[in-house]
Structures are given as C-alpha cells and as structure tokens.
C-alpha cells in the first residue's frame, strides 16, 4: 500500500506543482473570468465609493467625474459606444471629430446620470445567471436593482477585451428595457443630416453648457 501511494505521489507531484503554479499565475484574472463576476465587482466598487463619500451621493459633479474616470471608464469601450450612437456617419468623421464626439457624449452621459446616484441608498443589485456559451465574445449580463418599489431592470452588453482590467468591457447599457446607445441613434442622425458632424458636436456642446448651469438630477 505504502509503495503504491508513494509511487502515485512521485508521479503526481509535478502535476500538482504545475497546477498550483498555474493557479497562482492566473488567479488575478480568474476572479473576473465570468462576465457576471466582472459586473458584480464593478457595481460593488461603485456602490462602495458612493457609500463612503456623501458628496458623491449628493451628485457633486466633479467628484462623480473622477469616480467615473478611475473606476468605470477603464471597463467601458466608449469608442464603440459613441461610434454606435453616431451610426454609419461615424466613418465620415475625421479623427479630430471622433475625439470631440466622444468627449462631449461622455460629458452628457456623466452629467445626466450623476443625478441618479443620489437616488441610490439602500438598494441592492441582483445579478441574474448569464445564458451564454463560455467562449462567447459578446454577452448580455442582466441585473436588477432592488429596493423600495418595483425592481429596476439594468442590463449590460459586455465584450471580451484582453487588455481591459477585468478581461471584459461594457459597450451598452439597458435601463428598464431601453438600450442607451440605441436611444441616441435617431436624434444624432437627424442632427447630422441637418447640420453635419460639426453641427452634432456643437449641439452636444451647447446641451452640456446648458446642463452645467443647472443643478443635476433634482
């Protein structure tokens, strides 16, 4: 018996060693391997940040921008979001115009939705099981914000991205059945048809300027 176990030990040891080494090397990635885990950690980080800082919950725009830049943007493919919202006209835009569109669109979204952060206090987020094959490059992660009143549907489209911090990036967001990026398509197209790409950029910039003069959210 003893010989048998020592033999198997001898044979197994390198394998166990290799497995352990592999485990140690991959563990920082493995934690976020699934898209659910990625969304769970990201929303957890944001909620913790809001809970830790009252001025964030109050919608302090400068602090929200810092939070978004540090925690959220590395996990968002904002280029893809803007390109998709602009539609086929995106290819006609010069690199400079594309850069400006991304900046103005980001400001618009951050400023509008920073108001929503103040609504967030004792809600919790429930992540639903993802129905996708493990090798899918694009996945929908469904979540629900639960608190007082009816649960709010909040879904994410995520894409596999080797260079992203968690191996995934968000490229669309669904609030209560409305895909955010899709919802900008027709008004952006309308603006470009009427006034060109520069016209859209200046409309976005004007809207951001008007919003800056008003308190957000409330």
């Amino acid at each position: 018996m003893q010989t048998l176990s020592s033999i198997s030990c001898r044979f197994l040891r390198p394998f166990v060693g290799a497995l352990l080494a592999f485990g140690v090397l991959t563990s920082p990635l493995a934690a976020d391997d699934t898209p659910e885990a990625f969304i769970k950690r990201l929303s957890g980080d944001v909620i913790d940040a809001i809970k830790a800082d009252k001025s964030l919950a109050a919608g302090d725009i400068n602090k929200v921008i810092v939070l978004v830049d540090q925690k959220v943007m590395p996990s968002v493919n904002f280029l893809r979001m803007t390109a998709s919202a602009v539609g086929p006209n995106w290819r006609q835009a010069t690199p400079e115009q594309q850069k400006r569109l991304q900046e103005e669109f980001k400001t618009l979204l951050v400023r509008t939705y920073s108001g929503a952060l103040s609504q967030f206090n004792d809600q919790s987020i429930v992540i639903k099981p993802v129905r996708a094959a493990s090798d899918d490059k694009e996945v929908v992660v469904r979540t629900e914000v639960r608190g007082k009143g009816d649960p709010i549907q909040l879904d994410y489209r995520v894409e596999k991205a080797a260079d992203a911090p968690a191996g995934w990036r968000i490229y669309n967001l669904n609030v209560m059945g409305v895909w955010l990026v899709d919802n900008y398509r027709s008004q952006f197209a309308q603006e470009i048809n009427a006034k060109g790409i520069d016209g859209l950029i200046s409309s976005l910039a004007d809207r951001n300027k008007t919003n800056a003069g008003k308190p957000t959210g409330k």
Partner: protein, 245 residues
Amino acid sequence: MKRQLSQIALAASLLLVGCASAPTANPKDPWEPMNRSVASFNDKVDDNVLKPLATGYRNVVPDLIQTGVRNVFNNFADMWSTINSALQLKPLNTVELIGRVVVNTVFGIYGIFDVASYIKLERHPEDFGQTLGYWGVPNGPYLVLPLFGPSTLRDGASLPIDFAVSPTQFVNDIPTRNQVFTLRLVSKRAELLKSGNMLEQASIDKYSFTRDAYLQYRRSQIYDGNPPDEEDSNDDPSANPVPVK
C-alpha cells in the same frame, strides 16, 4: 356631447392624413409634425398644471398616505394585469398576480398596504396594448396623445379598454370620478418628480429621445424584458469602429 366628440375624432383623423410623411420621415413616426405639436402642448400643461400639483402633493401629503394611494391604484392595475396575463397565456404570472390581488385586498385592506411584495409576490404589469402586441398586432405609427403622452396607434386604440376597467369607472358620481382620476394622475406624476427633467438634460432633441425610449420600452414590456435583437442592427458600425489616432 357624443356628437361633438365624434366630430373632433373625424377632424383629428383628417388632420392625421394631412400630415402624412415628409420624405425624410422616420418610418416609425410618419405623423411627426402633429406629434411634435401635441408633445409641446403636453409639456406646457405639465409645466403649468401637473408638475406644480404633483410637487404640492409630494410636499404636503404625508409619505405614508402617498404610498397608500399608490398601492390602491396599483392593486386595481394588478387586477387588470391578471386578466391580461391570462389572455397572454402566462399561467405562472397569472397565478402570482391572483395571489397578489387577493393578499393585498384582504390583508392589505383594499390594497392600501402592499403586503404581497413582502412575501415576494411580484408585480407583472400588463395592459391591453401589451396583450395585442403579444398576439402579433404591430405598433402602428407612433402617436402622442394629448395629456396621456407617448403612445402608438395600437396602444392608443386599446387605451379606452384599459380605461373602461380602471378604478375611476367604478365611481358613479361624476365629480368624485374626476377627483379620483386627478388623484391618480397627480400620484403618478409625483412618482416621476425625482427623475427631474432628465429627459431634457440627457438629449439634444427631447422629442425623439422620448419617442425612441417609449418604443424600446414598450417592445421590452411585450417580450417581458427580454426582446430579440432588432433586424436593423446589422448596419451597426460599432463592431469595428475606426479608432482615433
């Protein structure tokens, strides 16, 4: 009164034909010019009447009563959802909704307290427009209704049926009925106060932003939050955006 109404309806439908599609019109919104003017009328009514009323209601009426009022209206809505859920052959939701209505009516004292939500019986809002959508009736053109706001031809046409079974119809006395109707409207508007003028802030054209959001939202409701991808997503350039150098 009836005669007048039918004349107005006739005039309105003639108006609709008159407004038919400009060449660049959005295929989902051929009546855009008319819709835009109704939408701006609605915005004026909201700014001058409904929003001030709702703000007063929120500030003066105790939270507990506001919640109670909302729950009673929701309980009536749940009854109608139950029937529509059955019409859409959704047995599990129907049973859950029956449970909700019974629990809330009996233990929640005519629906004042939402006991059902505490025991995890969830709401599944359904209306007649959704039932028609479930059975394949298309949206038809987008339609902005005076006072009621965003709708479609299908949803607008089914509104009278939703209305016929709304709590207001159970009140025989006309002045009281109008008060109940107003209370329902104000309570609903008060719920939306906290989202502020987000629609305006989030968009460069509030009208088309609202329209597209409404159409997406209804589509999602009809598929119970899980609609299939739309066909026109193929020409989406986002899969290979040209990167910025």
